[in-house]
């Protein structure tokens, strides 16, 4: 594929106010944070209103965009930084890719805002919650709408901040505070990669705007492009919870469930996919970096799926599922032009069904007094009919039940992987198919443990269906889960819509017929679901997790030892280093200073002893000195 340089056509009409999409939620956040208690009563409505309005603007802008030639609009707002050779203009790039993301963010965001009105109704910090949520939406929109890597970076860190604030929303719980910090720090590790990639672009090309960088990819040496690609990948791994920076995402479930749905499932964690897809012209010039993306995606896909099989915390299972599904997206973007559209399609579909699943999980928690332990659920299907149906549709979409969203988009990725050909094609395809089977296993296990079987509720729990403000978004998302894949792949093919960004979709010659792939995948999925039924459906689920389990299950329960590795490789050595340095600074560096002062003081005290106060000893000193001088004079003249 060739460089795609967004043409900068003068902007007029509706598109010239595209910045409203970002400013609306931002203004909402500012008003709620600055307004204080005065806004307590209506703040959540205002926050929801701003996101709905942003969705409306985004929708209008997208419609306006379809009528424009090239379907790409660049909008310069103001000079952000201009000094020396560096000229960063704050500007927006509205093209099919960012439009798709904008619609996802504002659409799902608006639904989750509505859901939160019910979910957070009795929380004393509701206003703060909605302010942070608005802040997140604004930052995420900046991330996808910015027209340069610097703008993306600003949004990138902004969503990191919002994620931190929202994970730590119930900050009196130490686990939440620690999880928030962990998320921010691991994200920052990735941010170093992103920052260095931007520095490298500026050093080599003198620009950081998409247009400038993509226009001159050809000028870069192969090694440099690979370096940029790998650094960007590091950033993407941090934000998207990909190997080796995946450990923060399951912990992030300490945040309120709407946050998990919006930030840690539908939007923010997919920013890594966006980054790589957006940087397609760079990755197209570096097969090496793309192979690494592939490997990261494949490895994470399996890690997430395996870890998801062993957890009993409903939100953690969904979190590992998210890790695994984003692994699929990385795998797809790693495949290059054949995979970009598939990755974005899967991303959008995943945004719908995973957000729906999380909202369903929130509804279950709402019913079960905020419990997340699936071993104490069971038999909820009858008590929570709407939740069960919507959750079930999301479940079917996720495991790839034929003709639901996941089936369309996941199969496209598996096909693309197999089409790669050769050993790597078979390995990647195999991994993707295996992942589909595992997905079916852990999701079926989740469904069975939560909604079927005998109730294993704790005493005093009286499950009840959630209010309409919560169920309505779940229903809408369930529609999305069912239809999104079909719409995006068949009715309005996303690959065609994204053509201005990724170029003409290639009709690759299929090595394996799609029909065969579909049948094989469906069989594997059915096997996974069947296995789950054998484990938890057919027999009674114990209310406490069995302690004597195989090493494989132990490893899966501990997230394949990611935390252990981080702890023993980074945290503990870091702590020792810090302690040693504190000691060194106090004793070594400052010790040298204080030592010099002490030596000077002690020396002068000792020298002072010569002053005895006896006049005659002074006189002797004077005489001695005089004799010395005289002797010296004699010696010199002689």
């Amino acid at each position: 594929m060739n460089e795609v340089v967004p043409a900068s056509v003068p902007v007029d009409g509706l598109l010239s106010v595209a910045w409203l999409v970002i400013v609306l939620p931002l203004a909402g956040a500012a008003l709620l944070l600055l307004g204080g208690r005065r806004t307590d009563r209506w703040g959540h409505l205002l926050a929801t209103g701003t996101v709905v309005a942003a969705f409306a603007v985004a929708l209008a802008c997208t419609l306006a965009l379809t009528e424009r030639a090239g379907r790409t609009v660049s909008l310069d707002l103001f000079t952000f930084i201009d000094t020396g050779n560096l000229d960063v203009t704050a500007g927006l790039l509205f093209d099919p890719l960012s439009a798709a993301f904008t619609l996802l963010i504002t659409g799902v965001g608006a639904l989750i805002h509505v859901y939160s009105i019910g979910y957070m109704a009795h929380d004393p910090g509701r206003r703060r919650f909605f302010a942070y949520l608005n802040l997140f939406v604004a930052a995420m929109l900046l991330l996808v709408l910015g027209n340069s890597y610097v703008a993306l970076y600003v949004g990138w860190e902004g969503v990191g901040l919002a994620s931190y604030l929202l994970i730590a929303f119930w900050h009196t719980r130490p686990a939440a505070a620690t999880a928030a910090k962990k998320a921010f720090l691991m994200n920052r590790v990735g941010d170093v990669g992103l920052a260095l990639a931007i520095f490298l672009m500026f050093a080599q090309l003198g620009t950081t705007s998409y247009a400038g960088v993509f226009g001159s990819v050809g000028l870069l040496a192969g090694g440099t492009v690979t370096a940029i690609g790998l650094l960007l990948l590091l950033g993407a791994c941090g934000k998207s919870g990909q190997f080796p920076l995946q450990a923060w995402l399951p912990d992030a479930m300490e945040g309120p469930t709407p946050v998990s749905a919006l930030i840690h499932a539908a939007t923010m964690v997919t920013a890594g996919v966006y980054l790589i897809a957006r940087s397609a012209p760079l990755y197209d010039a570096t097969p090496t970096a793309r192979t690494v993306v592939l490997a990261v995606g494949a490895v994470t896909l399996l890690i997430g799926a395996i870890a998801g099989c062993a957890h009993d915390d409903i939100k953690k299972v969904l979190a590992y599922s998210t890790v695994s599904q984003i692994g699929y997206m990385f795998l797809a973007v790693g495949l290059g032009p054949v995979g970009y559209a598939a990755a974005i399609a899967h991303l959008l579909a995943h945004g719908f069904f995973k957000a729906g699943l999380f909202l369903g999980a929130g509804s279950v928690m709402h019913a079960m007094d905020d419990s997340v332990d699936m071993r104490r659920f069971g038999g909820l299907a009858r008590k929570l009919p709407i939740t069960f149906v919507t959750f079930g549709l999301g479940y079917l979409a996720l495991i790839g039940f034929p003709f639901l969203s996941g089936w369309w988009t996941k199969d496209a990725i598996i096909e693309a992987a197999l089409d790669r050909g050769g050993v790597s094609g078979w390995v990647l395809g195999g991994v993707a198919v295996l992942g589909a089977g595992l997905t079916a296993f852990y999701m079926t296990r989740l469904m069975l443990m939560t909604f079927f079987g005998r109730p294993r509720w704790e005493e005093g729990v009286h499950p009840h269906e959630a209010p309409a403000s919560m169920t309505a978004p779940m229903v809408l998302l369930a529609f999305g889960s069912v239809a999104a894949g079909f719409l995006l792949v068949s009715v309005f093919p996303l690959s065609g819509w994204l053509e201005p960004v990724f170029g003409e979709p290639e009709e690759a010659a299929h090595l394996v017929s799609p029909l065969v792939v579909s049948i094989v995948v469906t069989i594997v999925v059915a096997l996974g679901a069947l296995t789950a039924w054998l484990f938890v459906g057919r027999r009674e689920v114990p209310t406490t997790a069995p302690a004597r389990v195989s090493p494989v299950v132990t490893a899966a329960r501990r997230g394949l030892y990611a935390d252990t590795v981080n702890e023993s490789l980074v945290m503990r050595p870091g702590m020792w280093l810090t302690r040693a340095l504190v000691w060194l600074d106090a004793r070594g560096v400052d010790g040298a200073v204080n030592g010099a002062a002490a030596a000077l003081g002690g020396g002068s005290a000792r020298l002072g002893r010569v002053q005895t106060g006896f006049v005659r000893s002074y006189a002797l000193g004077i005489l001695g000195g005089a004799v010395l001088v005289a002797g010296a004079l004699v010696a010199v003249t002689a």
């Binding site: 000094t83 949004g155 009196t172 302690r579």
Partner: protein, 574 residues
């Protein structure tokens, strides 16, 4: 407007104010602080008017005043500002009124067996310090600069030594001796410059513009450079000349600490840019790698040390040392972008770290302890304080959207083309910055209420060693010397009284920000956000001066296309 001697006014007004405050009887404390506030606001107004009178596109030094002072040695009382100095004057103008407001209710630490001291002297020293700080940035005569440089120590010495924490005298003497040592070595270099100018021009001079034209032998340059560098490296401080700052920062009263780290230390980095680079271009180029080693080592080393601190004020001091490493990196990378970033960093760091110090001071005023482990769960009780604390912390870790991001980004992106290895190491520092900020924030603000918030019959709970994280190791080290572990801080009087009241374990009522405190933090919060989104006016103000400095050392401000292979050192391009 341009005929008004703005700079002279900015020096004279606070000096006269200081004299007037000092002349007040000790009992008139309220009048003294009102006068101090009025004078500092007047100086802020003067700073703004000075900026209006300044033409960024005009000559390098503007608003100049020159009066012969010691004609026999060619010393003039010469003042003038370029964009860099002017940005520092603005910083002084903003920070001093804020500091006055933040110190409004401060009282000196009681001395056992002696009558309580009056705060009148505090306000007088503060205003005198402001006058001298303006002088040091506005001087265009090297000797005059030296005089202000040394004179500045005196008020700060008394601010720390008379109004500081328990271990204030140790800190004050350490600060004074350290700075004096550097200053004297610099004096030797100043005299050396005079001698060189005498032999080259036939008549000795200290005028900066004349000295800049000299062609000095490279070896002589290195010696003279070393003298200036040592003074500035102590002042700024760069590792390993830094150990005075944590002591001074921790023991100084909050207002003093803000001005110390916010402005006083900037004289060091300002000196690099104003004196070291233009006067000794060859030496600067030759020795830059060594300076960069110190700078980058400082970024990592001080950040790691900050992670290990248990005393909030020491922690903030260490973060500043790391930030000074970034500034030095920006200056000695020799690119326009990085140097502009460094100047912006000087301004932004004053705002951000000033706010962080002030907020930490507000926390200490409520809890009566500087130790992080004495706090926990404050956010639930003081949401506003927590919010400002977090914002100050985020500005300190250079989150985009805050002013510090612009400067740190400029420094790093500007330094990368010429010094990729150093920049990569420095970039790792941003992870550590997040670590120390969030660790402190989490321990103080998050979690269940504990420490000074919890009260039972035995006094503050949670003092047990079991709670102390491993990183608290430093507490023993410094507590023994700092005496801060056991000794209540200033403002502790009220809290201690409550703590002693017999009560069962319960959560203390801690009040959120008062109206005065909101008024103090608002200007800084606003500056952080506004300059984070729209920094270009400040960039436009300093850019011409930075470009002039760059051309002094032979860097073409706009010409060095980064794409030029070879010069980048990042591996060959096309």
């Amino acid at each position: 407007m341009t005929d008004v001697p703005w700079l002279v006014l900015m020096i004279v007004v606070p000096a006269v104010g200081a004299a007037a405050v000092a002349a007040l009887p000790a009992a008139r404390e309220a009048l003294a602080r009102q006068l101090a506030l009025a004078v500092s606001l007047l100086v802020l107004l003067l700073a703004v008017l000075t900026t209006v009178a300044f033409d960024p596109g005009g000559e390098r030094f503007q608003l100049t005043t020159s009066v012969a002072w010691i004609p026999d040695f060619g010393v003039d009382f010469a003042l003038g500002v370029d964009g860099i100095a002017l940005s520092m004057l603005l910083l002084i103008g903003v920070l001093v009124p804020v500091v006055v407001g933040a110190s409004w209710r401060d009282t000196p630490l009681p001395r056992p067996g002696r009558p309580a001291r009056s705060m009148t002297a505090f306000w007088a020293w503060l205003l005198l310090l402001e006058s001298l700080m303006v002088g040091v940035f506005a001087a265009t005569d090297v000797f005059l600069f030296y005089v202000f440089f040394e004179a500045m120590l005196v008020p700060m010495y008394f601010l720390i030594g008379s109004f500081g924490g328990a271990n204030r005298q140790y800190a004050a003497v350490k600060f004074f001796l350290y700075s004096l040592l550097g200053g004297l070595v610099m004096l030797a270099s100043v005299i050396g410059l005079y001698v060189v100018s005498n032999s080259q021009l036939g008549e000795g001079t200290f005028a900066f513009d004349a000295l800049r034209q000299l062609e000095i032998d490279p070896n002589v340059q290195k010696l003279l450079f070393a003298g200036f560098f040592l003074a500035f490296a102590i002042k700024a401080p760069l590792v390993p000349f830094h150990t005075w700052l944590p002591d001074s920062g921790a023991e100084a009263p909050i207002g003093g600490a803000v001005l110390l780290v916010g402005v006083l230390d900037k004289v060091g980095t300002f000196g690099f840019l104003r004196y070291c680079l233009p006067l000794f271009p060859d030496a600067s180029r030759d020795l830059a790698p060594w300076v960069l080693v110190l700078a980058v080592a400082g970024i990592i080393y001080a950040a790691l040390l900050a992670v290990g601190q248990s005393d909030m004020k020491r922690l903030v001091s260490y973060t500043s040392i790391a930030h000074f490493g970034f500034i030095a990196l920006g200056i000695f990378a020799f690119t326009t972008e990085a140097a502009t970033g460094a100047v912006l960093y000087m301004f932004n760091h004053g705002i951000a770290t000033g706010l962080l110090f002030i907020v930490v001071g507000m926390v200490i005023a409520r809890g009566g302890s500087r130790q992080i482990r004495d706090y926990g769960g404050l956010a639930a009780r003081t949401p506003l304080l927590a919010g400002v604390f977090l914002l100050a912390g985020l500005a300190s870790l250079a989150l985009p959207g805050t002013n510090s991001f612009v400067s740190e980004f400029l420094v790093l992106i500007g330094a990368f083309p010429t010094r990729p290895v150093f920049t990569i190491i420095a970039t790792v520092g941003i992870v550590l910055a997040a670590l120390y900020v969030l660790l402190m924030y989490q321990r103080v603000m998050h979690g269940p209420p504990r420490g000074v918030l919890l009260v039972d019959e035995d006094g503050p709970a949670d003092h047990g060693a079991a709670d102390h994280g491993p990183a608290d190791h430093g507490a023993g080290e410094h507590g023994a010397r700092g005496g801060a572990t056991a000794v209540p801080e200033r403002g502790a009087g009220g809290a201690t009284a409550v703590l002693e009241a017999p009560a069962r374990a319960r959560v203390l009522a801690v009040r959120d920000l008062s109206g005065r405190e909101i008024a103090v933090v608002t200007p800084l919060v606003a500056l952080i956000l506004v300059l984070g989104v729209y920094p270009q006016p400040l960039i436009d103000l300093v850019s011409p001066a930075v470009e002039a400095t760059m051309s002094d050392i032979g860097v073409d401000p706009g010409g060095s296309t980064p794409a030029a292979p070879g010069s980048t050192g990042t591996g060959g391009t096309d």
